[in-house]
Symmetry: C2
Subunit: 463 residues, 2 copies
């Protein structure tokens, strides 16, 4: 439809005859006249069908049918003008209607914001649910936000590098999703919990400024507002110290809010910085919400939390890492780490960024010397063989000329949901899964055929 006009472009073309296409929205009959709104990706406009041959076609139209119309753009009579809405001062007098597709009656009302519905039915009919202006806006906002990040980083010399999804299992605090290999029966790929190791390998490879909008996967029991797959802004820089990574991220966030959400106010810049100890003492949380009024969605209170303990004791008395095993300690604790002394007092170079009480990102300077990383794994209880098996490739790489490096990862779904004023991340993901990890639209996960299992040399063990 090369001569199609989008609805947002109608306002400057009063008097012209145009071709429009879209979905039938609300319909109002007034005897001889049929009024209905036509909706396309750019907006809505009121159509008017008077008596005549086209009236018969218009009479058949039902909500969500897809049509093409030819009509003349007119100013509405003065008393019909609605200045509250876009195109409220005009209407299109319809000359022709072509039905492009009919639609069954939707299973729910598309004129609401959808929040009154059980989420299951919204997810099952996600292709209808997404037609709501709110969700369309969320998809567009997410696109613009990610585009802004990409532009900002690219202008500053970063390159985006795609890292593998079919990868190897790594201990990053959650279970891996596994993918059986058909060509190597009995062996499995793992989906990455993050591109952490790949981005460190890119630093060793001489890529000095890396980023990626990266898909990550975690097989967790209690998901709450999490998803089996989620999206990170993943970022890493060579030859940097903690301060430079923090400043880059802070200026990016400030620029992003200014450009995309000029109506919102950042409570304080530079972002306040609290040590873990200060945050716990003053707010009882390492994700404090610094807003004076917690319900004020127009205010954005960013802050940094630093100086976390590197290790903590598990219930069994073993040491585990609090954030990221690949982090370096703060420089003044390197000796303690290497010697394995006063382990509970070692402070990591980790820095978390918090927005309105939610952690939206975290990063650190990494242990770029193999002996220091080995010391971490020893404290975590790995013996030499287990270290070699799980981290041999990374330790080898660090022994072959690794620059000092550090970075961060943002939880992009969370950031978008907070900035969009949405209560959970499913509202800013096109096709989210349920809390049980089900895709109700596609029906995944699902049974597979015996032939598929046989090819993978797998049996289901239903004991």
């Amino acid at each position: 439809m090369q001569n199609r006009t989008r609805i947002e472009d109608l306002k400057n073309r009063i008097g012209e005859t145009v071709t429009l296409a879209g979905w039938v929205d609300v319909r109002r009959d007034h005897g001889q006249l049929i009024f209905f709104d036509l909706r396309d990706g750019s907006g809505k406009v009121q159509l008017v069908v008077g008596p005549g041959p086209v009236h018969e076609t218009a009479d058949k139209l039902r909500p969500e049918w897809v049509i093409e119309v030819i009509g003349q753009i007119k100013k509405r009579p003065e008393k019909m003008v609605n200045s509250e809405i876009a195109n409220g001062d005009l209407e299109v007098e319809v000359g022709e209607i072509k039905i492009l597709n009919q639609a069954e009656t939707p299973p729910f009302d598309l004129q609401t914001d959808g929040r009154e519905l059980a989420e299951e039915i919204r997810l099952e009919y996600r292709y209808l649910d997404l037609r709501r202006p709110r969700l369309q806006q969320n998809l567009h906002f997410r696109h613009r936000l990610v585009k802004f990040i990409r532009d900002y980083l690219s202008e500053r010399g970063f390159i985006e590098v795609e890292t593998p999804i079919l990868s190897q299992t790594t201990p990053e605090g959650a279970r891996d999703y596994l993918v059986p290999s058909r060509l190597q029966p009995g062996q499995f790929y793992a989906l990455p919990q993050s591109p952490q190791q790949y981005k460190q390998l890119l630093m060793v490879a001489g890529v000095e400024k890396y980023f990626q909008i990266a898909r990550c996967f975690r097989d967790e029991d209690t998901r709450g507002d999490r998803q089996p797959e989620f999206t990170q802004l993943d970022l890493e820089m060579a030859f940097v110290e903690q301060e430079e990574v923090m400043i880059l991220n802070e200026t990016l966030l400030i620029a992003l809010v200014k450009e995309l959400l000029p109506g919102k106010k950042i409570l304080q810049t530079p972002f306040p910085r609290l040590t873990y100890r200060e945050a716990m003492d003053e707010y009882g949380s390492d994700r404090p919400d610094l807003r004076p009024n917690k319900n004020d969605s127009q205010t954005l209170a960013f802050c940094w939390i630093t100086d976390f303990p590197f290790f903590e004791k598990t219930e069994t008395g073993a040491w585990t890492f609090t954030h990221n095993p690949f982090s370096a300690p703060k420089p003044e604790f390197m000796e303690q780490l290497l010697k394995g002394e006063k382990i509970g007092e070692i402070i990591t170079s980790q820095y978390d960024i918090v927005l309105n009480g939610s952690e939206i990102g975290g990063g650190s300077i990494r242990n770029h010397r193999p002996e220091a990383l080995r010391a971490v794994f020893r404290i975590l209880g790995y013996d030499a063989a287990a270290i070699a098996r799980n981290f041999g490739h990374l330790l080898q790489a660090l022994a072959r000329g690794a620059p000092p490096h550090g970075g961060i990862a943002w939880g992009l779904d969370r950031l978008v949901s907070i900035l969009a004023g949405e209560p959970n991340i499913r509202e800013v993901i096109a096709f989210p899964k349920t809390g049980e990890g089900r895709d109700l639209l596609m029906g995944a996960p699902a049974a597979v055929t015996p032939e598929q299992l046989k090819e993978l040399k797998l049996k289901i063990d239903s004991r």
Copy 2:
């Protein structure tokens, strides 16, 4: 290192004292003087160390060690100027050296282009292999190309939408990779062979202009120059006809070449268009290389191939699709499709884009009416129950107000490799797998623990 100067910025700062950081490259000793190149992400420069305390440190340096140096930028003596290379007219007189990391001797020479090596060793030490300027350039070129596409489409009203990786099995011509669900034992996700169904659902959802740089997965036997995971530019538009999709893609490709590869010449614009019949009759191939000289890598011969048969017979005499089961026939063949008559003569709306003898993309106008898509599946031999089971969600969506739509997918790895003058796609992928699907760097796929299998309720069936 906030006061670090990148090597590409040295040329305008003759006489200044700067801090540099990077890798020790080639080293040449001349008695009292040590010459070596320092390499960072932006280039190389020659360092000179004279007699004095720093000489002792410099003497220890070996290739690929990571160092920080402070030195003064000087013009080289006239007879030492090398005008063939960047920074060939200057050198840095080193005052201080700090060793940031040592490096074991690399397992292969990093001064060559690497083509003389067995690929296995390059992939095992990919973090070294990637330090070669050729591969660095490939990563940077790929970034710029993808960025150009994103900018171009975003400016034209497209939005990028992320679609799921943990998805449902679909019959798109290859085997799916499966992911066992732990929470639903005995059930599996499938990794998408393409976002085809999701992008069609987005069209039904009212997203009129969609694109995505999308990861796709196919579990194939003979891979040749293929990878288990690969990247597509995936694109779909609502309310379009074939011509509009082709024109958009053609103008994008022309703009991309002009911007990124001004030295290359596109053989013919508008791109020649050949029907499948013409291509086979004239060139014996539906991927003809139209270059007069097949070895001329500076000439880019794009062409479109259209009017493919929709169906072809398999060895068993059943009908299969030649390209994409979701395509619409050309409008004049819709009656035949619906009636299932003269099936072998039905022409699909498929259009393939070919560059120098390689297919770099393909797309079609889709069957947006459920009865027409159902007719395709009937011809392919699915009974009503199988159609409902495999495609029920998409057919339901098409019955709820689907706009006419069409799109395309580009094989991005292939396009980048051809434009970069590389013989295979592994040269333009940061961490590729071998032909057998192995990641030699990370050691994937690999055995997993009995506990992991037990949690998934799976047994390996080694019969």
